[in-house]
């Protein structure tokens, strides 16, 4: 029975080949466009978020109490051992890093600039946030005797320094005396986390402790989890365990990024709705016309004893065929396109240097989420289903048997 319905539907679609091909193409193209947009835009936002998480906030950051309002060396995470113990044993934690931070000044013979000085352990940073991946020039090392500094590319640009240049770092130490140290630029980073690229100077943890006269304590512990869904739970637990610390999620530290994500979701939803409304309109037109054209044909079928439900099934089948073939084709091309851009990235640098300015990567790597295809499938099904309701209603009203006598 179903096979027969399917066959009839298929044959009548094939009879109007050009039209059917056009509809299939339309659905495929709209789906392709939609997938492309979702994948690229999501990729862009996730990349920005990822940059911030890897280079700075982690999924969760721990600070000393009151540090965020007044980032002073006196407000540090002091019970490092306890934090260490907890994080090292918790199965939700993928990795974490400890950083010592202080604002100071970088100077050369020509220029001086404010800077955020980070005392870090490069090996841990690399394991934690693959920081070396952001290396733009030079090497990911502080040199043999830890006299190197890795600095943000915008800062390097403003100071007009290159690999090997000497910089003098000065900052207020724990006793609020001004302390200074000479360093050589060993690496230049481009994280596309704006604040970092403009300000950050990474130096060896040991060097920073010497400079700031800090024997113990860290300014920030950044934690990356295995699963994003566990962030709130871990945050709660950390807060319970370390009530005197400030424990913040990445989206609390970078609210603008979270808003970008939410906005992008909304934007994608609106765009997909729009595209599917248009596509549904296309299917609707074709189905309506094809029903009207075949009034006589359906009349004859009814006259020879075919039930209306069978005809309805045929029409539904036609619509679903169009929809699913279009979906399959669109999903395939869309997936292929996204896959390509996931591997090779979409280079938007032709649009100028605006990207650097706003903490975006010029090359965007697409994201493919199964949900794109599921949503699209639901939408296509809905669209094809809804778009034949009116033609069916028209068909019922037109009393096809009477139509036999027309013409």
């Amino acid at each position: 029975m179903f096979r027969l319905t399917g066959k009839i539907a298929w044959v009548s679609l094939a009879r109007r080949r050009t039209r059917s091909v056009l509809v299939v193409l339309m659905i495929a193209v709209s789906l392709w466009g939609l997938l492309f947009m979702e994948g690229i835009y999501d990729g862009m936002v996730e990349q920005m978020i990822n940059n911030a998480i890897r280079s700075d906030s982690g999924h969760i950051s721990l600070f000393g109490g009151g540090y965020r309002l007044d980032p002073d060396l006196s407000r540090q995470v002091v019970d490092v051992a306890a934090v260490d113990d907890f994080l090292a044993q918790d199965s939700r934690v993928l990795s974490y890093v400890k950083r010592l931070k202080q604002d100071g000044l970088v100077a050369t013979a020509h220029y001086s600039r404010g800077a955020a000085i980070f005392g870090v352990d490069l090996e841990v940073e690399e394991r934690h946030g693959r920081l070396a991946g952001y290396l733009y020039q030079g090497e990911f090392s502080f040199g043999r005797r830890a006299r190197g500094a890795i600095i943000g590319f915008k800062l390097a640009d403003k100071l007009q320094v290159r690999i090997g240049s000497k910089i003098i770092l000065s900052a207020q130490d724990r006793h609020s005396d001004v302390s200074a140290a000479p360093l050589k630029v060993t690496g230049i980073l481009k994280t596309n986390n704006m604040a970092f690229d403009e300000n950050a100077v990474f130096i060896a943890d040991k060097k920073a402790r010497q400079l700031l006269a800090m024997d113990e304590g860290v300014s920030q512990v950044a934690v990356i989890l295995h699963d994003e869904a566990q962030i709130p739970g871990l945050q709660q637990e950390l807060r319970r365990r370390f009530p005197h610390l400030e424990i913040l999620r990445w989206d609390e530290l970078y609210p603008a990024l979270m808003q970008s994500r939410v906005m992008m979701e909304g934007f994608n939803l609106v765009t997909s709705l729009l595209i599917f409304c248009v596509a549904a309109l296309g299917v609707f037109g074709v189905m309506l016309v094809s029903v009207l054209e075949r009034l006589r044909e359906f009349g004859i079928m009814l006259a020879i004893g075919t039930r209306f439900s069978q005809i309805r099934n045929i029409i539904f089948a036609e619509s679903f065929f169009l929809g699913f073939i279009g979906f399959g084709l669109g999903a395939l091309i869309g997936w292929g396109t996204l896959y390509y851009f996931m591997i090779y990235g979409l280079d938007l640098s032709m649009f100028g240097d605006a990207f650097d300015e706003f903490g975006m990567d010029a090359v965007t790597y697409a994201i493919i989420r199964p949900s794109y295809f599921v949503t699209a499938l639901v939408a296509v099904t809905m669209a094809t289903f809804l778009s034949v309701l009116v033609p069916l209603w028209v068909l019922k009203k037109a009393k096809p048997i009477e139509a036999i006598n027309k013409n």
Partner: protein
């Protein structure tokens, strides 16, 4: 027993000697070192009380200030502004690497934050940092004698790895007669001349000679029209200087 100790000592000595003698240029290093040490001693003394006039010239203005400075060695100094009347009583205190200033008009002592250390000091071509750090040449640089003429030594000063100085190198010309600098040139890392300080008009003060006119010329193109001249009108060296000048309380107390 004693003999054995002596033997060990001798052996150690021998080792040291061997190491020293294979170092190249050791003779030059020594004499350049000595020159700079003498120069530093001649410029700073154990203590110094100096009265000076500073003239700052820019493209459009010229400003004259008079001040009094008290210092002990390299690490402590106290400066009080005497002229112009508007700024009279402003005091500066520098102890080691920190600097404070007191402004009578607002009756406040302010610690100069790290971020301001490289700013110009009172509009001159000296930075706050110059005032704080200039003094430790003998510690922060390795010295090499480049040239010796009848009147002058030319010594190249290269910052040691640990020295927090922005310069790539400094070339100092030293008068043989007085063991005082005549010109000091400051270069960046690419050997570009950034500024030049000339010491002239050497005069006797007590038992020592001292340059009474210092001229600082910035060589960067955007500051080409600027210069700063310091003229020393009076100086007393190695006299007893009251330690009380070098406390934060002194800023206000000696402001009047």
């Amino acid at each position: 027993m004693l003999f054995k100790k002596l033997l060990i000592k001798l052996a150690l000595f021998g080792l040291v000697w061997a190491v020293v003698s294979v170092l190249p240029l050791s003779a030059f290093v020594d004499s350049a070192d000595e020159i700079i040490k003498k120069v530093e001693y001649n410029l700073n003394g154990k203590t110094a009380v100096v009265e000076l006039t500073m003239v700052v010239k820019t493209k459009r203005t010229e400003r004259t200030m008079k001040m009094e400075s008290y210092s002990i060695g390299n690490n402590k100094s106290f400066i009080k502004i005497l002229y112009p009347g508007k700024d009279k009583g402003i005091t500066f205190l520098k102890v080691d690497n920190s600097m404070w200033q007191y402004v009578p008009r607002i009756e406040k002592t302010i610690k100069i934050p790290a971020s301001m250390m490289l700013q110009s000091w009172m509009g001159s071509d000296f930075s706050n940092d110059d005032l704080v750090k200039e003094s430790s040449i003998s510690e922060d640089y390795t010295k090499k004698l480049l040239e010796e003429t009848d009147e002058e030594y030319r010594v190249e000063l290269l910052p040691t790895e640990d020295a927090a100085v922005v310069w790539g190198k400094i070339i100092m010309a030293v008068s043989k007669m007085y063991y005082l600098p005549t010109t000091v040139q400051y270069f960046d890392e690419d050997d570009m001349l950034i500024r030049e300080l000339a010491y002239t008009d050497i005069k006797p003060f007590g038992d020592r000679f001292y340059p009474t006119r210092w001229l600082m010329l910035p060589k960067e193109p955007q500051k080409a029209a600027n210069k700063t001249i310091i003229e020393i009108s009076n100086a007393v060296f190695d006299a007893e200087v009251d330690e009380s000048y070098f406390t934060k309380r002194a800023l206000k107390r000696y402001s009047k």
